[in-house]
Amino acid sequence: MGRIFTTDHRALGVLYLYLALAAVAVGTVLSLLMRVHRVWPNAVIPFFGVMKPEDYLALVTMHGTLMIFFVLTTAPQSGFANLVLPEQIGARGMAFPRINAAAFWLTAVAFLVLISAAHITSGGAPISGWTSYPPLSALPAAGPGQGLGMDLWLVSIGVFCIAAWLSAANMLATILGERRAGMTWTRLPMTVWAWLVASILTLLAFAVLLAAVVLLFSDRHFGSSFFIPMGDMINGRVVGHGDGSPLLWLHLFWFFGHPEVYIAVLPGMGLATSLFANFTRRRVAGYRMMAGMLVAIGLLGLAVWGHHMFVSGMNPYAGTAFAMVTMAIAVPSTVEVIGWLATLWGGGLRLQTPMLFALGFLSFFIAGGLTGPLLAQPALDAYLHNTFFVVAHFHLIMAMAGVFSVFAGIYYWFPLITGRMMNETLGKLHFWISLIAAYGTFLPMHFAGLAGEPRHYDRLMGPATSFPSLIPVERGITFSALLLATAQLLFLWNVFSSAHRGRRAEANPWQATTLEWAGGAERGRIERGPYEYELPLSGNGFHPQWETASKEE
């Protein structure tokens, strides 16, 4: 019991990663069912038989909710920060260990409630997508799964909001108040900057989502009309008696939804910066600039939610304003990418598995990020919105970049947790297969989107249109997705076999400089920057942060 209901931050970090693993396993299986159904719509699928359209939409909804909330929000932020954040800033522990533990258990509860939405309710899981636009999400009669299934979804997300909030409040307090003497702002590892910004975003964004979820729940059960307009009809019955606006939900949801993307990807950006410095043995080129740009991305990220709403009926002048702010975000993002490319420029990389995955993160960040400025233009987005082009965009920039940064973190911190190294050969194999299969899955979706194929369609055939030319493309995507998922078995095997039989790791196996690798050696004042690597030409020297400055000079 003590080991399970622990307040030890590192144990909680591992628990978060197990939770994310469970969620990603379920979410991946759901996505494979979707992919198989799209290519063989009449195939008999276990648990479903021949899949009905509402089954497909339920899969989409559950896949999106699981992946975004329970994988991309928990693993890089709560998972990794719990593993190493206190050590990285030289703290004795988290500021509020019990709140921190409570946050994990609430997250676990939210996960169980969400899974139950799919299994115990007669109508099945909700079908309105992870964005749950009302009135579809506000009225049980609007579709199967929109009754109890939708209620459970709302409860799950509400609990998740509270958990995310508690976790972020603890993290923020830890970073602001628990740093060891000498751990100044410019000596923070970039991961800590990223967790700092992501924590602030979490506090602001999830508070608004919680409010929105409560309002929607109230519309469903307490007769309010925040989101249901006057005269709204479902199944021939007038249900709208108040004067609500569905657009209000879109504003509230995307005020959360856009920062959420940064919550998912900022920790990866911080980690990639650290890994690029370590595995090139170079200082971070323009540290202050890189840290400042993470903050800038976070701040601007709070003011761009309208770019999800260009064709929602929002005033077109607002579309222009949101487009401009969104374009502005491209600038700090470009600074980050140029900073990383500049660090890599000189070559001589140590191409071990964590570095490969960090490079994979960079590759996806570029490939998915470059379509950002395109989609930020309302005139072009008016064609591409809700087509597969957008699916390709966010799966590259958020899902694949996010997941590859999680892999990088696991390969990198594995020796810290288990005292053993993960197998390099398996790791490299895992990387290359995943990279190629991920591109095989998501690059062709751009073309499907350009061809006009909308999201959330369970079949390529319809009364008015069909996409016969897309069928071979869809088949290629499905095969690539199956390969991508299968390659993850290599990773699972590697994790569990290396934990028991892996090569024993020496202290500080990656010759890193940040404090989590100090092994509790010294607890003196911090006098070093986070990335004091010397260029390899002048020897392989490096100065970890736990060294005192006087020793060397």
């Binding site: 009809m233 709208g240 470009t334 070559g347 400025p373 350009l450 909308p454 319809g462 008015a464 030319s469």
Partner: protein, 253 residues
């Protein structure tokens, strides 16, 4: 191999469906140049990464600051170019409404069906009231019989438009949010219950174009499709006359 297969197959599809709208070529041109620029940048960045990975012997010098800043400046110029060109198109198609002589058509989304309403000879849409909606009784939009303007309205499940005339579409929804998407006209806008929204465009190439629902709206979302048929102005007159005769016969009974 798999990845190469799916990419090659994708390249065969390659582009947007043929465009039939007056402004379509501007959208297509912008889309092409944006995608071309971004593809080139993606390739260059990956060559850069591959070069760094293959370069075994590290360079002594770090990447020059002046180049970093110049690169950033180059990117900023590109972003400004993208924003300006696309905003000009957005402003010209969305900031102002349709011309006063544009044809009026109402689009109504309902789970899982599109309806198109023409105002008839009086050029005014009749009042609608949700409680009167009754598709089985031939009044799917709830047109109020007490309003004379509604007596000559024509409701169709196919959108028929004359080529070369601007059309002002009035978008409504009866139940949930739908997405009104005509890929061939490069047009998309949600239909939102409680709101009346307008978009306008000019079809110029005759032919049949699919109309899709682009916002998930329930279990029938994927089959919520209709057809746009663009015909010559004389054919349109003939179609409209046929519909009016049919309606007159119905009302005569």
């Amino acid at each position: 191999m798999l990845a190469a297969y799916s990419l090659l197959e994708a390249a065969r599809v390659a582009w947007m469906p043929p465009d039939g709208a007056l402004r379509g070529p501007i959208v297509d041109r912008l889309m092409f140049w944006n995608l071309a620029a971004l593809c080139i940048l993606a390739v260059v960045a990956h060559v850069w990464i591959a070069f760094a990975m293959l370069r075994r012997r590290p360079a002594g010098k770090s990447f020059p600051d002046i180049l970093r800043w110049s690169l950033l400046a180059g990117f900023c110029v590109m972003y400004v170019w993208m924003a300006l060109t696309a905003q000009r198109l957005w402003a010209s198609s969305r900031f102002a409404g349709a011309s006063l002589t544009a044809m009026q058509v109402e689009v109504v989304g309902e789970q899982f069906q599109w309806y198109f309403r023409y105002p008839g000879a009086d050029e005014v849409f009749g009042t609608t009231r949700p409680p009167l909606v009754n598709a089985a009784a031939g009044n799917p939009l709830g047109i109020d019989p007490r309003d004379a303007h509604g007596s000559d309205d024509i409701v169709s499940s196919t959108l028929v438009l004359p080529a070369g005339r601007e059309v002002d579409m009035r978008l409504r929804s009866l139940d949930v949010i739908h997405g009104f998407f005509i890929p061939g006209m490069r047009i998309k806008e949600n239909t939102v219950p409680g709101l009346v929204l307008h978009i306008h465009f000019t079809p110029v190439v005759t032919g049949t174009y699919p109309i899709l629902c682009s916002q998930v709206c329930g279990m029938g979302h994927a089959r919520m499709q209709a057809r746009l048929v663009v015909v010559s102005p004389t054919d349109f007159q003939a179609w409209m006359a046929r519909r009016e005769r049919a309606r007159a016969k119905e009302q005569g009974q």
